[in-house]
């Protein structure tokens, strides 16, 4: 029982990070029908930039409280990622707006490789440790442990998702985004500047990615130039699981995937008599992705056919 609760907690934490990243995939897909494979790398850049900024702040003002230093790092990473996401759309995707669908998709993969290599050149191949700046408190519930950081990650993610939900449902920008997602042409003919909406989508998605990047590196205590690849694939799976293009779906898919993965990792040893260990954790995300694509290609909450990509 305690392992169940423990893995459930771990899964929710992981899932809330997946959900933040998945939102970036799903919003861009909803509007452009483009799978932005560079999004995972934006997350990685967010973590790297934040760590670099944290290092600088620690050097300059070591007496500051840890939380403030990390916050400083996040506040540098968010605009950096927003600029990156904005530029990617502007320079790589917009010129291909009218090209066949495969062209921007391949471009996205190309951008992702470029970003990985740039990060490797700048920050090196080694793992970068996340300094122990955050409160390390542990609490016990139902026989399982939960840390301050875990609580913080889940609460912040949920708050951000509520804010995003509100923005999309209740604001002028959100309405323009939904209108553009339904028909770019009609939205434009009703006076919506579609390019502004697309840019805003990339800005929001990249800001979420920056926060998720810091969360994931703080959670695992590590950052690495390759970390965006697997995180991106997982988040993409989460978006497909929920129904790509659907914002609530990305949130649900993220949490579900995190929980499935954590429970799978917790029990796979018992289930296979020790033959497979918890390092097979990553298999679950893709197993779920395959199941979804076979049995419900439009995703849990999706209405549209996801087979177009």
């Amino acid at each position: 029982m305690d392992i169940f609760v423990q893995q459930l907690i771990n899964g929710l934490v992981l899932g809330s990070i997946y959900a933040l990243v998945a939102l970036g995939y799903t919003m861009v897909y909803g509007i452009l029908e483009l799978i932005n494979f560079a999004h995972g790398e934006v997350t990685m850049i967010g973590a790297m930039v934040a760590l670099a900024a944290i290092g600088l702040i620690m050097g300059a003002a070591p007496e500051l409280p840890g939380l403030v230093i990390v916050l400083g790092g996040v506040l540098v990473a968010i605009p950096a990622c927003m600029l990156l996401g904005f530029s990617i759309e502007r320079l790589a995707y917009r010129p291909l707006r009218r090209a066949p669908r495969l062209a921007p998709l391949i471009t996205a993969i190309g951008i992702s490789i470029v970003l990985q290599n740039v990060a490797m050149l700048v920050w090196g191949r080694q793992y970068i440790a996340f300094p122990p700046l955050l409160p390390q408190g542990r609490h016990e519930i139902l026989g399982a442990h939960i840390t301050d950081l875990q609580i913080f990650i889940v609460l912040l993610s949920v708050a951000i998702m509520l804010g995003l939900w509100f923005t999309v449902r209740k604001t002028r920008l959100g309405r323009a985004m939904r209108a553009t997602a339904q028909s770019r042409e009609v939205a434009e003919l009703m006076g919506v500047n579609v390019n502004t909406v697309i840019s805003a989508t990339f800005l929001i998605g990249s800001a979420l990615a920056a926060i998720a990047g810091v969360m994931v590196s703080a959670y695992y205590g590590l950052a690495h130039y390759y970390m965006g690849f697997m995180l991106g694939l997982k988040a993409f799976s989460a978006a497909v699981l929920g129904g790509i293009g659907n914002i609530a779906g990305a949130m649900l898919g993220g949490f579900l995937l995190g929980v499935v993965e954590a429970l799978g990792a917790g029990y796979i040893g018992d289930l296979t008599g020790g033959f497979l260990g918890s390092h097979y954790q990553d298999v679950f995300a893709f197993f779920v992705l395959i199941l979804v694509l076979v049995f419900r290609p439009s995703g849990l909450l999706g209405e549209r056919v996801a087979a177009r990509a």
């Binding site: 604001t171 309405r175 209108a179 009609v186 006076g191 919506v192």
Partner: protein
């Protein structure tokens, strides 16, 4: 009367096909202007050139002196030119009221930052957008249907909703692409009354129809297109008796 919309020698070619050949016409402020012609005459092509979906191959389109040709659709809307669609194109998954609120986009300003920070100004603007949208819904006769999903509205109501959405952009000129297609005579009459009320409210109407009867009863002036050329222009009666028009509709004798 002053010229609101001027179309001058507009030509549109698709490869070797001349969809429009030096078409010129002038819509006066305050009138209901009809554009008719057999299927494939180029009506919708001209419409798409006016609203920025197509670039023109040659010629000029101006609204109150400001060039519209080869501008972005949203810039044209901002100038005061809105349209509806021949095959209804609402935002089906949004409520009727939200559809109209999208039309207010171009007349409001809160950007990304405003949406995130939600200052008092942003909230006031949002309330104003909602209120104006509700007024327009009432104007077209959909006052009680704001909460319904656009796709759940009856066919005739969807056409009205498209008009309300276009009106939300505060157009000087509203272009209606076959607004009564598929309607029964009662609905047609009601739409005709709506058009009169729109004109009384100061909106100039450009009506594309191939239902000649409706156009003749409603329009102050009519232009007839055939094979991408304007073959006649003038008052309804005058155009109806034009031998070139009769030939175009009935086939040359």
């Amino acid at each position: 009367m002053t010229a609101l919309l001027t179309v001058e020698n507009v030509t549109k070619r698709f490869g070797g096909v001349h969809a429009l050949e030096a078409v010129s016409l002038t819509v006066q402020a305050g009138e209901i202007y009809g554009l008719i012609g057999p299927n494939g005459a180029g009506k919708t092509t001209l419409f798409n050139c006016m609203t920025g979906l197509y670039t023109v191959s040659a010629g000029e389109i101006r609204l109150e002196g400001h060039p519209l040709h080869n501008r972005k659709p949203h810039q044209i809307v901002a100038r005061g030119f809105a349209r509806t669609f021949q095959n209804i194109r609402l935002f089906a998954n949004m409520t009727a009221l939200e559809n109209v609120m999208v039309g207010r986009h171009v007349r409001s300003g809160a950007g990304v930052l405003g949406a995130v920070l939600r200052g008092a100004g942003t909230r006031a603007e949002e309330a104003a957008i909602r209120e104006r949208a509700q007024q327009l819904m009432a104007f077209v006769g959909l006052g009680r249907k704001g909460r319904a999903l656009a796709s759940h509205l009856a066919y005739g109501d969807q056409r009205r909703l498209e008009i309300a959405r276009a009106l939300a952009t505060e157009p000087r000129l509203l272009a209606l692409d076959e607004p009564v297609a598929g309607m029964n005579p009662t609905e047609r009459r009601q739409m005709g009354e709506l058009f009169q009320r729109l004109r009384d409210a100061g909106v100039t109407l450009l009506l594309i129809e191939h239902d000649v009867k409706l156009v003749m009863g409603l329009c102050d002036r009519v232009a007839v297109l055939d094979y991408g050329r304007k073959i006649a222009e003038g008052g309804a009666l005058q155009v109806q008796q034009d031998p070139a028009v009769i030939a175009a509709y009935l086939g040359a004798a």
